[in-house]
């Protein structure tokens, strides 16, 4: 750790090209074999001079140094990673970070951080994304210079959109004179972060090891401060590989930083509006960062006796809580006179409908005169190019502060505002809301029964069968996938009351997120003994099927249930819509969107990579036993996959 001492920075020896030894040819080889190993470095056999030709400006090279004797830069980089408590480095190997990788596995002995091998950088970074949402802290992903960064780009984008922390390290051979001919020139850049700068929170490309240390710690600090996001740090190959000589390097201590909280005056104003409201509604966006998140949202709702709509960007409120009115989302928002939006990432979309018709007509959901309060930091970290920020939407009060950190202060302010008379009115309102929510499950079960015995298997049946087995683990599970393509059945049928029971969406919508982020979540869950279940789209899994090999190789327990509707079904519906709009070819929307003919055999695919698998299952009666067998494998600490031939939604 840092001593506060400013280090001297003497010249680091340069690597010397092997070209000199190659030019020496057999004479040098013969000379080397007659000398002892210890004398190799000191030997300087004569080297025939390279003939000087006109225009040749290179001096003949001395013989290369073949070994190092002490600590190398990569070792120091590992010290930096350890100082930040980084448990894993996820990576597809690449030569631009060979030095750091060797340091991880030999100097660091492949422990905290442990090197997790992935078969594509998109898998690496998506794993980091999912890991952070469950572990509550980032890991490091390590990507090959330029090409690895490009492979990782979509996953970095999803991570950025979802405001999840991650340290993305990229290799680079910064000095031109150090690049081998050919591939190292294609895999290096002066400013590699340009590739991803639009969707990382910060980036750094250090000029020396001390710079690297300070940059990495700053990167971690920024990544984990609300609004969170991935950061991109270049690890120069020379810095990794060179021996550290005569340098006094130190690693600054990470600041213990609090999350930003809302201004007390603004929170008091919000409290007044909410307590005075006849029908306040809370819309919970990306609120939850820790176990406190759902508890605070529930406490807020109970203090106000207000309905909560969970936007499902994270697990923001227990789904069976009587004040959780997500089942009647539109009706609840329409009836509100005050809306409190917590960490919304698309406030316009929360308060308006936008129909996918010609002209994209839009209608407000809220009534005229409804007051809107926004609490969060989500929309304070935006960049101009990518239009993630959605439409600018008016609010009567905007409070800048991390929602989870600000909620205790808001709750206190509300409690101060509530008079005994007002408390009676709130209790009456709360009672009505509870009576309404008592009828939700009956309607849910009636809908779930609709295609109960159908083949292909209904999504309700699949989710109900999984839950039947999962409920025996006492809530120690994570649903790591999104549920909108499954008609939200897990949120409606399962019992979710812990912050890790679901981890929300990618937000960026880059397909391929689910299978890899799920494995990252499973990696985080491993130490807790939790079951991770991914209800995974077939198209998503085919974007990164190599994730299955990583799961098997590293023995990461996870249950993949493939929602195999044999299509990029969203796109099939889009094409259908346009064909109907144009009044032609309405029976041709399958062209370019379906994944059939041949049908992919996901069970065989998984088995080929060492994953226990069953399927394809198209008889719903076979599902229960299949899930039982698969969960036994997962509980033993290994991955499993079930291929379910499914209804479209």
């Amino acid at each position: 750790m840092g001593t506060g001492t400013v280090s001297k920075m003497p010249k680091i020896k340069r690597r010397q090209f092997l070209a000199g030894a190659m030019a020496a040819g057999p004479a040098a080889a013969l000379a080397a074999t007659t000398k002892s190993a210890g004398a190799v470095e000191a030997a300087r056999p004569s080297v025939p001079a390279t003939p000087q030709t006109a225009g040749d400006t290179q001096a003949p090279s001395a013989l290369p140094r073949l070994t190092t004797n002490g600590k190398v830069g990569g070792d120091f980089m590992v010290d930096c990673l350890k100082s930040l408590n980084i448990d894993y480095v996820v990576s597809c190997p690449g030569s631009t970070f060979r030095g750091l990788q060797e340091s991880i596995i030999n100097y660091g002995m492949n422990s905290k951080p442990e090197f997790i091998t992935c078969l594509h950088e998109e898998i690496s970074v998506a794993m980091g994304h999912g890991y952070a949402k469950i572990a509550g802290k980032p890991l490091a992903s390590l990507v090959h210079g330029v090409v690895g960064t490009q492979h990782a780009a979509m996953a970095i984008y999803n991570c950025y959109c979802d405001q999840a922390p991650q340290i993305v390290l990229a290799g680079n051979v910064g000095q031109g004179t150090m690049r081998r001919p050919g591939v190292e020139w294609a895999h290096s850049a002066h400013d590699q972060a340009t590739i991803v700068r639009d969707y990382v929170k910060w980036d750094d490309q250090a000029t020396n090891l001390q710079d690297f240390a300070e940059g990495l710690v700053r990167a971690y600090d920024l990544s984990t401060t609300s609004p969170m996001g991935p950061v991109f740090v270049v690890a120069d190959a020379d810095q990794q590989e060179e021996e550290i000589e005569h340098e006094k390097l130190f690693i600054p201590k990470l600041r213990k930083r609090s999350q930003p909280t809302g201004d007390a005056v603004a929170l008091a104003e919000a409290a007044k509006m909410l307590v005075a409201a006849e029908n306040p509604v809370i819309i919970a966006g990306r609120v939850t960062r820790t176990a406190a998140g759902p508890k605070l949202v529930a406490q807020l709702a109970e203090t106000l006796q207000a309905a909560v709509i969970d936007d499902r960007a994270r697990m923001s409120m227990a789904n069976r809580h009587p004040l959780n009115h997500t089942e009647r989302r539109q009706a609840a928002i329409r009836g509100a006179d005050v809306v409190l939006a917590l960490e919304p990432y698309d406030l316009y979309g929360m308060l308006n409908t936008v129909s996918d018709l010609i002209g994209r007509p839009s209608q407000p959901i809220i009534r005229p005169g409804t007051k809107v309060i926004v609490l969060g930091t989500t929309d304070t970290q935006i960049k101009p190019n990518i239009t993630l920020y959605a439409r600018y939407t008016s609010a009567d009060l905007g409070i800048t502060g991390d929602a989870e950190s600000s909620l205790p202060l808001l709750i206190q302010a509300i409690e101060k505002e509530v008079t005994p008379q007002r408390r009676t009115a709130l209790a009456t309102r709360g009672q009505k809301l509870k009576e309404q929510s008592a009828g939700f499950m009956k309607a849910v079960y009636q809908q779930a029964a609709l295609a109960w015995n159908a083949s292909p298997v209904s999504t309700a049946r699949t989710c109900a069968e999984v839950w039947e087995q999962l409920k025996t683990v006492g809530g120690e599970y994570t649903m790591s996938s999104e549920a909108n393509f499954l008609s939200e059945w897990p949120y409606r049928l399962w019992n979710m009351d812990k912050h890790y029971n679901s981890m929300g969406r990618s937000v960026g919508g880059g397909v391929g997120y689910t299978c890899s982020a799920s494995l990252g979540a499973a990696l985080a869950n491993k130490e807790h003994g939790r079951i991770t279940v991914s209800l995974n789209g077939d198209g998503d899994l085919m974007m990164s099927p190599g994730v299955l090999w990583t799961a098997a190789h590293h023995k990461i327990p996870i249950l993949y249930v493939v929602h195999n509707n044999r299509a990029y079904h969203q796109e099939t519906m889009h094409l259908q819509r346009i064909a109907q709009r144009n009044q032609r070819g309405i029976d041709r929307a399958h062209i370019g969107t379906t994944i059939d003919n041949p049908n992919i055999d996901f069970a065989t695919l998984a088995k080929s990579m060492g994953v226990y698998a069953q399927g394809p299952i198209d008889n719903p009666a076979d599902l229960g036993p299949a899930i039982t067998r698969a969960l036994e494998v997962v509980k033993r600490g290994e991955p499993a996959l079930i291929d379910v031939v499914s209804q479209p939604r």
């Binding site: 109960w452 109900a464 109907q580």
Partner: protein, 117 residues
């Protein structure tokens, strides 16, 4: 301006008359087998499911509305359902689809399903 308003009024009136005629119609006889084929090729199942169970993308069709309302919704749908105009689906084809939709089985009573408790 008054001529335009008059023309618009005639257009609306024609539409209303046409719709009224449709509303007055009983379901014509339809071919179930062809209706199933159409249901699966022209995209109905994408949103409504193979057995009309519905979901997040579209409402259920099990135990459908009477035919006159069915064809009105098909031709000039409310909300975001894309339209199936006469150019792409004839009245007979609509009748075939309706005949198939009428065959969707009623669901079991959820109270009889052990795991739905």
């Amino acid at each position: 301006m008054s001529r335009i308003v008059w023309m618009l009024g005639v257009g609306v009136l024609s539409g209303v008359v046409g719709l009224s005629a449709a509303l007055a119609q009983n379901a014509p006889s339809g071919n179930v087998a062809n209706g199933k084929k159409l249901y699966e090729t022209v995209g109905c199942f994408q949103c409504h499911g193979y057995v009309g169970q519905g979901g997040a993308a579209g409402p259920k069709l099990i135990d459908p509305t009477p035919y006159p309302a069915f064809i009105v919704q098909l031709r000039a749908p409310r909300q975001v359902m894309p339209p199936y105009t006469e150019r792409v689906l004839t009245d007979q084809q609509v009748a075939d689809i309706y005949a198939h939709v009428k065959t969707f089985p009623m669901p079991p009573d959820p109270a009889s399903i052990t795991i739905l408790k």
